[in-house]
Subunit: 268 residues, 3 copies
Amino acid sequence: MFMLPIQSLRSKIQETSPLIHNMTNVVVTNFTANGLYALGASPVMAYAEEEVEEMASIAQALILNIGTLTKQEIDAMLIAGKSANKKGVPIIFDPVGVGATSFRTESARRLLEELDISVIRGNAGEIANLTGQAVEMRGVDSTAKMDDSLETAQEVAKTWNTIVALTGAKDIITDGTKVYSINNGHPLLTKITGAGCLLSSVVGAFAAVDEDNLLEAVASAVAFYGISAQVAASKDINMGPGHFQMHFLDSLHQVTPSQINEIVDVKL
Amino acid sequence: MFMLPIQSLRSKIQETSPLIHNMTNVVVTNFTANGLYALGASPVMAYAEEEVEEMASIAQALILNIGTLTKQEIDAMLIAGKSANKKGVPIIFDPVGVGATSFRTESARRLLEELDISVIRGNAGEIANLTGQAVEMRGVDSTAKMDDSLETAQEVAKTWNTIVALTGAKDIITDGTKVYSINNGHPLLTKITGAGCLLSSVVGAFAAVDEDNLLEAVASAVAFYGISAQVAASKDINMGPGHFQMHFLDSLHQVTPSQINEIVDVKL
Amino acid sequence: MFMLPIQSLRSKIQETSPLIHNMTNVVVTNFTANGLYALGASPVMAYAEEEVEEMASIAQALILNIGTLTKQEIDAMLIAGKSANKKGVPIIFDPVGVGATSFRTESARRLLEELDISVIRGNAGEIANLTGQAVEMRGVDSTAKMDDSLETAQEVAKTWNTIVALTGAKDIITDGTKVYSINNGHPLLTKITGAGCLLSSVVGAFAAVDEDNLLEAVASAVAFYGISAQVAASKDINMGPGHFQMHFLDSLHQVTPSQINEIVDVKL
């Protein structure tokens, strides 16, 4: 098995509490902040065009999530993003629901064209819509088949010179050439809102403490997240989505190195 | 006992995952999305005037909730609502806190006058305020007595040619003529925020899969919701409001047909 | 031990359900509303400049929290605040992240200059930044040492003629002269988002039912909050942050007078 630095990056997050600036949607703010605190990072949410340049410049990662976008918020994301680019702060882009409306599609393209994005994290339908294909979306949920996902992910990574984390039942992490395939995760993640959104922020936290291999850091984040979900779900065989949320936040905080080693399922 | 199609509509939600477009308040977005996922529906939140016409037109139900309304949001609700009306997408209106401020009262009236609303879901005070009576509100909580609620609900239903779901300790569902009276539910629902708001969205999900009897679909939604609360509360006799939230989300996902049959308490 | 009227004020909240108008950040709205319901108060969130004057005037306390401030929201806070001042409704100010960006620092100063604030509740870094010192912030989290916190708190209290609740591992409540020092609380409060924000709203609820000694009411709120956290954390020695949230909401509802008496740790 290829060894990802999951635990070492996770420890570094716990030791250094990187500041993660989230510009995210109104549905998942609370869950995102709680997930980042559980992980050991220091979340901040800031949206006003009067302060995002300053906030992004002191952050260790910037998350741009268009789940409940407005024209104003996209404008503020561009200000924050340019500030992050100037300071070398990695930007994680979560193109929530791109393809569902033309406003989402155009806004995503605007962000991709005007900013240097380090990582794009989305589901199969969202990533496919970034290639210019018009793939049907059920609101923010993907109805795309995963079959040709690898090629799609590689195409998006090459087109935008970025890393793509296409996540779902199986996760694909690629820079366009190298590919990590991750089999961790749990179906209960699809029964709660914000599972993908929080993952994007967790990717930001791992990217924040990465030193020299962003692709490995992203793969580590996605694997760690899936492992945490599996540990959470294992607490009770009849677990419902309400209790899963709580166990999952616990896991992000409490998963042990030996659990990581036992459960990790990654192929290069 | 009159037989409502509670389980058959619920199964249809689980099988078809109807897309529910929520324009709701910032307090309850997360709980609403989680409740809809638990139920088996596919929630989306979208607020920007640039995209709501398109999003509402592909949804199976549209929820308009004025809990933290702004002028801009009301304008966007009108755009979304007209789009929904054009496509025959049912609109559920939740007049949160109407009567507490004149801005809420006027905004509610504007929505009712300019849109065809399929269902209004509110507490006794909110529904009473829609008749033009000025009934005292404690913010978004009703202080109205339930005594003359039936007549009030019928009056509102007739005035606006809609179905009214007036919910509280006892629930009244009426189209102005026919009346369902529902005795399901649990007092812990009053100890958590968003219990009414999520119910409005759940009504939307049942309306989305209804074929030819909207009144029955609304009554089924309200009964199912109350039953889920009872099943949740039954898990622990000393349950506090924190744990109730989680058990309740579990119940929306896990309540069984036989639990529905045992607990349902509806009169026509 | 000095006797604070913790239980009597708490009972009064449960009996009278004071209406608490929160203008707070998008991260903590749900948790804040749930915490206030659990406590027995009646929360309302209202932000639109069209309604905040009216809403603040019927509230028993107004909470101004700048966690995700915008220019528009600050303008609305000034309208609400002036309305509250006119009616004698106490204002609790939570200067989230002040010092992290100049927009936060300037906005905080504007609120303090134009409104009569009854209580400021913040962490050590936030309170220090209100003195005009530029103390480093990690986003919304304080990196300040607590050593000279007492003097800082007293200085801020005197400057703005207000009560300061500087909370952290140890809590300091002062009107500039008299000082309460509170040793209740639990480290898990630092692992969830909104613990400080909800505390500000709980302070509002205690202030709402206070009759003639606001300093005691604030100290009672802070002690009650810390005690509730201790009771919550005591339920399970391996508790993670996910479950802590739920137990904490339960505790705000269920803590008993005898638990309060046993656990309270306050010095005058």
